[in-house]
């Protein structure tokens, strides 16, 4: 069982880091230099180069983007929903890049310990 939070180490967002990313499907976070999460995302079945292209495209939307971390998973939908719900429970709001969810519900998960 994976922990409910994305506990992977942050990596610097630079060309070499992006180029080294796998083309697999999965979930990721884009963060600023202080480690504040700017957006949670997933590389789904339509992404051109999996995590590599999805992370690069999402990071390009955020001026302050400086780091990223990711997890390879085929269950990217349920893992993405889980990460959103846990983030909301921990911080009381979603990352700025996820704030516009229309009328879609975010799950309520009260995961233990941070």
């Amino acid at each position: 069982m994976t922990g409910v939070r994305l506990g992977k180490p942050w990596r610097d967002l630079d060309d070499a880091g992006i180029a080294a990313l796998p083309g697999q499907l999965g979930v990721f976070q884009i963060g600023d230099a202080e480690g504040v999460v700017l957006e949670l995302g997933f590389a789904g079945g339509r992404s051109r180069f999996g995590l590599r292209s999805a992370i690069a495209e999402t990071a390009a939307k955020h001026e302050r983007a400086a780091r990223f971390r990711y997890e390879v998973t085929m269950q990217y939908w349920s893992r993405f929903e889980e990460l959103l719900a846990v983030y909301l429970a921990d911080h009381g709001e979603l990352p700025v890049g996820n704030a516009d969810r229309g009328d879609r519900r975010i799950g309520r998960i009260a995961a233990p310990g941070r």
């Binding site: 789904g44 998973t73 939908w77 349920s78 309520r108 995961a111």
Partner: protein, 388 residues
Amino acid sequence: MDFELTAEQRLILETVRRFVHEEIVPLEADLDPDASELPPHHRERLVAMTKELGFYGLDIPEEYGGPGIDLVTRTLMAFEMAQHRAGLYAPCYGVFGGAGLAQLYEADDDQKERYLHPVLRGEKRGFFALTEPSGGSDPARAIRTTAVRDGDDWIVDGEKTFISGADKADFGIVFARTDPELGRKGITCFLVDTDMPGFRVRRIIHTLRSTHYAAELEFNRVRVPGRNVLGEVNQGFAIANDRLSRNRIPYAAGCIGVALKAQEMAIAYAKARKTFGDYLSTRQAVQWMIVDNEIDLRTGRALTLEAAARADAGKPFRTEAAICKLVASEGASRVVDRSMQIHGGYGMTKDLPLERWYRELRIRRVGEGPNEIQRLIVARDVIGGSFH
């Protein structure tokens, strides 16, 4: 059994088929291949269309405002409605509306006002929590969650697992042991609001079905008012049995629906793909796979319609519902598997819907009562006696 379609059924099926082809399938080209929801503006547009067609709330009984469609027609529609990528667990992305949980129809008037009607209006969502870490196939013995009376209230303590949709729900139907001496007759059904203190969703359980996922729940001294007991105390298993058997029929039909589409795709591909100088469709090995598909499809389809016809005729149909659920889920899994084989490498990709159907059909053999339990039901009905 004669399944000659009436003129009205033919018209309904033609309408649903066109709806799937013209409204649903084109949208899927832009959605993530695992998606189970439509963007809100499309959803609203399509719900308005199904309302206009008089098909909204298909499974809602007529006395609650549903269109009053008989089960044979409903089954025929389910064959059609599943024929797209998300069709197994999200037929037409839910734009035909839901019926709510079967047990809610057994609620008293006050409970219907607080739970059933808001669900039918799309304002509230519920979950169904029977399975526990100690087991799901034999809940009468496995349930460890307890509910103890405290004045007018009940205190619920325990855990549930594999509960679909619980993290986004407003309430749940929760089965708890109220008399440890009485076994099956000591279980009570409660309506638990998800904002009641002590209720907690611990984590999501990641399975082959990435959307419509399940969750693990904790009940830590949750105080539930006595007016939230659904049905009678200690009679939790008595409620909604008929409706649960009935639900197995469209459930089986959904399996057949995606398999019908998989077969159509396999035939088209076999006729278009050449190897060693000729079409795959000319090879006996491929023809036999297609023939075996056809046998599985016709068997599953006929048995599902038979169960529906018996239910419509007011005859006992528990055995037939169990048989169609297990034959359809197993047969459809084989059909999709063979169709993937005919497609070769492409069959494994997310470019085609086959891989999603393959994963999700695997769950159909465990969900809605595992197939071994369906076999137990049939054995009990045809041999008699009880089984342990």
